[in-house]
């Protein structure tokens, strides 16, 4: 059955090619980093826990030495503009094939669970879509065989260390959980609520969800903590709040926090590299006014509609 094996093999092969390309051009830190990621994708399950830990340390060392910025593209702006005129809207076909095939594949793989593990349907569909669209683009534009790797590694180098940060932070979350971080934070926040009144309880619940999410980078990690500390005992039991409303609006308060934290790196830090932004927190800055206003609106909905 196809599960994570197909996407991980594809990603491993791609990172291996990036590593070879980089090492051949004496771009050592980049080559080492993408090479270690290739090892992780292709053989991570056979390395053992300590082996994987050492692999991560290798990546950290390479990143601390500093990944090199992407090399200058072979095709300059004028060549690309000419090519854009030549191919016109055909250029959109492979780009739009990715969402279309991901969508169709996700439904197909869920409907036929014998072929693909339903839990991994989306990731498998995305990988199939990326490969199929690459084939379509190669057929349409007849690029040299090295172009996908050369152009891919250029984008990868532009993302740089930020590409690995989300996975590192997910791993850090596991250690936070082991150290009982959530319980400590919820104890501190719970102590802020005076007496039995509703307004401070709602404020600390929604504020705690946002703050805990900012600290941990993930509303999923914050939810069980705040629900157990304040949502269940105070909002649902003591004040008869509607359970579905308290849960759903609490999670959304956490999502507002996700928009404000570099810890949610795949949303807030990765695009900084992908879009060549010079300010590391440019995306968070662009999101902050919306995040704060939506948090306030969400708080009002919780206070006004969730309680009898």
């Amino acid at each position: 059955m196809i599960g994570t094996n197909l996407p991980y093999t594809a990603a491993g092969a791609m990172f291996a090619a990036f590593a070879v390309w980089s090492l051949a051009r004496r771009r050592w830190p980049n080559g080492v980093t993408w090479g270690l990621l290739a090892v992780s994708f292709l053989g991570g399950d056979r390395l053992g826990d300590v082996g994987n830990g050492i692999l991560v340390l290798g990546i950290v060392v390479a990143a601390t030495f500093g990944l090199r910025p992407p090399s200058v593209p072979a095709a300059g702006g004028e060549i690309r503009a000419l090519s854009a005129v030549r191919y016109g809207n055909r250029l959109f076909l492979p780009a739009l094939a990715v969402p279309a095939i991901t969508l169709g594949g996700t439904f197909l793989f869920k409907a036929v669970p014998t072929l693909v593990d339903p839990k991994q349907a989306t990731l498998v569909a995305l990988t199939v879509a990326a490969l199929a669209a690459l084939g379509l683009a190669a057929w349409l534009f007849r690029p040299p065989a090295s172009a996908p790797i050369e152009e891919g590694v250029r984008l990868m180098d532009a993302v740089g260390w930020a590409a690995i940060l989300p996975q590192m932070l997910a791993a850090l979350g596991a250690l936070f959980a082991a150290a009982g971080l959530g319980e400590t934070m919820s104890g501190l926040l719970g102590a802020l609520i005076p007496g039995q009144s509703l307004i401070p309880a709602v404020l600390v619940y929604a504020g705690g969800m946002a703050l805990l999410t900012i600290a941990m980078g993930n509303a999923f990690a914050a939810f069980p903590v705040m629900m157990a500390a304040i949502g269940l005992p105070l909002l649902i039991h003591a004040h008869n709040g509607h359970p579905a409303a308290v849960a759903s609006l609490g999670m959304l308060a956490g999502f507002c926090g996700t928009l404000l934290t570099p810890m949610a790196a795949n949303f807030n830090i990765v695009p900084v590299g992908l879009l060549n932004l010079s300010d590391r927190y440019a995306v968070i800055r662009a999101q902050a006014p919306t995040a704060i206003l939506v948090w306030i609106a969400n708080l009002a909905i919780l206070y006004l509609l969730a309680f009898p």
Partner: protein
Amino acid sequence: MIALAGIAVILIGFLLRLQPLLVVAVAAAVTGLAAGMAPVAILAAFGKAFNANRYVTAVYVVLPLIGLLEREGLQERARGLVAGMRGLSLGRLLTGYMLLRQLSAGLGLTSIAGHPQTVRPLVAPMAEAAADPEGTMPEPERETVRALAAATDNIGLFFGEDVFIAIGSILLMKGFLEQFGIIIEPLALSIWAIPTAICAFLIHGGRLMLIDRKRRAR
């Protein structure tokens, strides 16, 4: 309290803009030591969790395709398409994209768009062209426009996905409340996400309209 030492490392490291991967590794070590774990146990726990979370990094398999299309002129074509549409302002373009992103995420289709797949090759160049059809805008302002495109993708995704009944966060909430004897339907959770989804659309859409108005005033 000592469990918070890791958070303090993260906070200081990110504020001082030190190398983030190093900051995370140090935070993990500090957190583990504060919890009384042996160094090798910390290394093993971190390595195990890193390996278990590889799917986060697997999405980059789209990069060779995106890079190839950009080599053939995809960004230039996306810009040309938008620059040809008079009346398509930055605010209208991004509001339209946000609506599409919210609706598709609300149907559970969270992975059909994203920063590598759609924002970098399509939405960001289109936003630049809508903001500046003549191509005379200085680079710092272009960066602000691209950051706004990325922000709009995130906002559309976050305040759309919770309307879908089978998304991870809904299943987490349902499962967690069940442990305490509270049985709720996923549909009830997703319906309660709709008012905030509408507020998010109006708030961010309103901000985008304001940005349009400010740009016109100049």
